[in-house]
């Protein structure tokens, strides 16, 4: 068995000011994945990324990157990761090309080689013409792409992007997505954090949802979307049913003799459920909508202001 691209066990972080940002995170990202870490602002996404990239000290837990331990094999961990941070972190008074080439230098790549690689990635990201311009003259989207080129120049096996499309307009967002998919097809594992559901949905095969420093969901995108398509009702019964009926569109489960749970596909008539139970002679005493953690999460997220909130609403 090959080592996972990323394996996190029991990761905790309490910042100096007492904020408990991570409360025990377990996460595995398989090699070759395109993985989304989804969660509202302040959930702890950047803290996780910060720890993996050694910009934040962890309080407890284990991190392994391709089997290399963050505490014991830091150089190997660093060599295998490329990071595109949430906030711009290059010298705005340095020329675009220099930024990428210097980064290669820090990884021990000689200058001539570094320029060749810089050219390849800057060309692919449409920035080669700008190589002599000061980074501060770039637009927001170009700055983001500059950081992607910088993250790839040492050809890491795992590329991590923290909110890569924040401040990038829709056109550019799509071409960035295409680029990332192309990079992923080449065999590079990708993790991106976002609070923008559409982005995760379009790109990622696997997803973890984080909220208040805890992983609340870790599944495939398919399963997640399927979950979003159903609504769960809790039915209190007058007496225990003889048997539980089957229906192609309604999944029924007994929680205890007097309680049933029903998953109903959205768009399905709730009457169907009543008919089904009626036929079996099952009498419903009361019924309520099951509050779904995921559902709650998304509702709360859709109440976020602005662009991202709208994005989530459109997708859900």
């Amino acid at each position: 068995m090959t080592d996972a691209a990323l394996e996190i066990r029991g990761l905790r972080k309490t910042y100096g000011n007492g904020v408990e940002a991570l409360k025990g995170i377990d996460l595995t990202v398989e090699e070759g994945s395109f993985f989304a870490l989804l969660g509202p602002n302040g959930a702890g996404k950047s803290t996780i990324i910060g720890i993996i990239t050694s910009l934040v000290n962890k309080s407890a837990g284990q991190v392994r990157v391709f089997g290399f331990d963050l505490d014991r094999e830091l150089q190997e961990v660093k060599r295998n990761i490329g990071i595109v941070p949430q906030e711009f972190n290059f010298n705005t008074f340095e020329p675009v090309g220099e930024i990428v080439v210097n980064q290669a230098g820090y990884y021990g790549i000689p200058r001539r080689d570094a320029w060749r690689r810089a050219q390849r990635y800057l060309e692919e990201l449409g920035l080669w013409e700008k190589r002599k311009e000061m980074a501060r003259t770039l637009s927001g989207g170009m700055k983001r792409r500059l950081m992607i080129a910088r993250a790839l120049v040492h050809e890491p096996r795992l590329l991590i992007l923290d909110e890569p499309t924040a401040g990038v307009d829709i056109e550019l967002r799509r071409s960035m997505w295409e680029f990332l998919q192309h990079i992923n097809c080449d065999g590079r594992s990708i993790i991106l954090t976002t609070h923008y559901l559409e982005e995760a949905e379009k790109l990622c095969r696997n997803i973890a949802i984080i909220d208040h420093g805890r992983i609340v969901e870790n599944t495939t995108m398919k399963a997640l979307l399927a979950q979003l398509d159903t609504e769960t009702f809790v039915l209190d019964l007058r007496e225990a049913p003889q048997r539980i009926p089957n229906h192609p569109d309604i999944a029924l489960r007994a929680l205890d003799p007097l309680t049933l749970e029903a998953d109903i596909h959205r768009g399905q008539n709730i009457n169907t459920l009543f008919h089904l139970l009626d036929k079996e002679g099952i009498q419903i005493h009361s019924m309520r909508n099951k509050s779904n953690r995921l559902e709650e999460l998304f509702i709360r997220m859709t109440q976020l202001d602005g662009e991202h909130g709208k994005g989530l609403r459109a997708a859900s």
Binding site: L55, K78, N89, I99, N102, G105, Y106, Y107, G108, R111
Partner: protein, 260 residues
């Protein structure tokens, strides 16, 4: 598992130093020019106008006596301020993260910043020396001593600047040390006078000032005259370099000021 090869360390170090040198060269009007202008003024006012009334100092024309000290003053302040401002601004603009996420070990980061500080210190030192030629013939009594003292001093103050940069949280905090500690110590470190002129008590107090030893050793290298023991001066300089290096390494490894 592949260790970082020597060749790769070398490339990384060269990259950092080249970047640092480019940084201060790009803004040479702020970094290289002012010390030369200031020193020219010192020469004209202290050396020329006032110095002619002072007469000899330790057996040298006053103008000739202050040249080594003024070169050292320039080297010290420029090495220090190069590293402190470069490190602080890389923290402020967050591009220190470029180095922190890379496999470059902290010892190499320190060496890289020292490289930049020494390059600026020596460039300015050379510039000031050239300016001094207009006022005083250049004497070189012992070149190896002069060069080694100036380079070691530059290393020492690059390290001090780095430490200041690590701890600084605001632009104010990067000018406090130079203004309130470095400049006074340098002025009182025998740049403008021989400590032998001071009354006994103040001579003893002066000997607590490490900069005195550096200026004195450098003056010996150029003029051949000194108030203090050369060996003691070297030991003090090397001792400070060792201690500051270890301290810088410890605080970088702890991630002070850069890692939360």
């Amino acid at each position: 598992m592949r260790p970082f090869h020597l060749q790769e360390y070398w490339t990384a170090l060269r990259t950092i130093v080249a970047k640092e040198v480019l940084r201060f060269s790009r803004i040479w009007v702020q970094t290289l020019l002012p010390p030369m202008v200031t020193t020219a003024l010192y020469f004209i006012i202290f050396g020329g106008l006032i110095g002619s009334r002072i007469g000899d100092m330790d057996g040298y024309r006053y103008m000739d006596f202050i040249v080594p000290g003024l070169i050292m003053l320039a080297v010290i302040t420029n090495s220090y301020s190069n590293v402190v401002s470069s490190f602080f601004s890389s923290k402020f603009q967050r591009h220190i993260e470029e180095l922190m996420v890379s496999p470059v070990p902290n010892s190499l980061i320190i060496l890289g910043f020292i490289g930049g500080g020494v390059a600026r210190g020596l460039a300015v030192g050379l510039g000031v020396t050239l300016v001094s030629l207009f006022f005083s013939p250049l004497a070189v009594h012992n070149l190896p001593v002069a060069l080694s003292v100036v380079i070691l001093t530059s290393i020492l103050f690059s390290l001090a600047g780095l430490i200041n940069g690590v701890f600084a949280r605001s632009f104010d905090e990067i000018s406090i040390m130079p203004t309130f500690v470095l400049t006074p110590l340098t002025y009182l470190g025998g740049v403008f006078y021989s400590v032998s002129l001071l009354p006994g008590f103040w001579q003893d107090v002066s000997k607590l000032n490490p900069i005195l030893y550096m200026v004195d050793a450098f003056r010996y290298g150029l003029l051949g005259t000194s108030d203090l023991s050369l060996t003691v001066s070297y030991l003090i300089i090397l001792g400070f370099i060792g201690a500051l290096y270890v301290f810088a390494l410890v605080i970088l490894n702890r991630g002070i000021g850069v890692r939360s």
